[in-house]
Symmetry: C2
Subunit: 232 residues, 2 copies
């Protein structure tokens, strides 16, 4: 948690295009004035399970993971999120309550904090905003449910293939990219062990489906990867 800024550049902020589309000008000014921005370095924790929720949190830049940590040091990543993800909202909106899960930066990130109180006031006054928020929230919930269902219906190879395709298609929009996460984190995302994730990546490499250079991944045979993902 570095510097705390409050530059009111929200007019251009992506969040405007999400739930905040229906904000009236006065409301928007208010949000903009009272919001805070913080920068996080890769690896830093944004909040932890058990902490009191006082803000609606919105990811402006970077990538975060929303995760559960268990007693025995194991983690499960519920979702990776980037700006524009509607998801970035659901996580968070539990007025007067406590975070059920944790969030940390997977890449250097900028996070906006908007006091829950303000959001609540807007909900009370602005029906269109509420409607939008409800719909976006439910969409986010369904995406998370889909993620878990998908996992449960795939084997190791299918799961790894799916993650790679997801990163290429929905996050980076190209077939060569730097893995934003460690092998361990991929394992935590798909519910398998680190060793087996590595083994599977090596298999894909040997089968010439992908090329690997450290953190850099290139998807060479997208079609085959797709088939594997559709049940390994």
């Amino acid at each position: 948690m570095r510097e705390v800024k409050n530059i009111c550049d929200c007019k251009d902020c992506v969040i405007r295009n999400l739930v905040f589309a229906h904000l009236k000008d006065a409301e928007f000014e208010n949000v903009c004035t009272l919001k805070l921005e913080k920068d996080y370095r890769k690896g830093e924790i944004i909040y932890e399970k058990g902490q009191y929720t006082e803000h609606l949190i919105y990811l402006k830049k970077g990538m975060v993971k929303y995760y559960q940590s268990f007693h025995d040091n194991r983690n499960s990543i519920i979702t990776l999120s980037i700006p524009h993800d509607i998801f970035a909202l659901i996580t968070i909106f539990q007025p007067e309550s406590v975070h059920q899960f944790s969030m940390s930066a997977v890449e250097d990130s900028t996070v906006c904090f908007i006091p829950i109180k303000i959001i609540k006031d807007i909900i009370l006054e602005n029906g269109n905003f509420s409607l939008d928020l409800i719909q976006k929230n439910n969409q986010a919930a369904q995406q998370i449910i889909n993620h878990f269902l998908l996992l449960n219906s795939k084997n190791l190879r299918g799961r790894v293939a799916h993650v790679l395709l997801h990163l290429a298609t929905h996050i980076y929009h190209k077939d060569i990219f730097e893995l934003p996460v460690s092998r361990k984190e991929i394992a935590e995302l798909i519910g398998m062990t680190t060793e087996n994730v590595i083994r599977t990546l090596s298999e894909f490499r040997k089968e010439k489906i992908i090329r690997i250079n450290g953190k850099e991944i290139e998807i060479v045979e997208k079609e085959r990867l797709h088939k594997i993902s559709l049940y390994g």
Copy 2:
């Protein structure tokens, strides 16, 4: 889908205590007049994936399952729901959209259908209602997430133990009950095969942790079951 009733007995309905607590009298009358009730027999489908969503659906009586069915006849049950479950709401609220998953009656059930249009109007007008709905929705989402995280962190015995404890503690509030679902459905709920669910139940029986008589289950050694559930 039997008879369609409209008896305006909503004043006593459990739903009043949920999101509808903040409804103004006129709004409530409106909901009550325009809602429909339908009875479903055990096994009947309430809606299927892909159907157009025109109603907010609320479970008044019985038990339903919310599930995903895959191409190859396999199913995953996302959650079992009974009246009072806040869950019963989230599933459903996707105005102008299409159901992502399916719902069917696990026991004989009564379901209330409230046209989305009305709910939308109330959201637009009644901020307290919106606020409540948002909070309840998010709570429901978190419960589902927790269900999946729990599964992923447990082995076969732990999962079966957990289901039994869940039924006894949160659904029936006693240690002897009739299983509302088939062994196959338990399997679909915990992501294991029917055979292994049966085998595990038999093990528990042989170890005198539970007694089984067809569909009737008695939990004899709750403490041991708890330990198994906390990681078998």
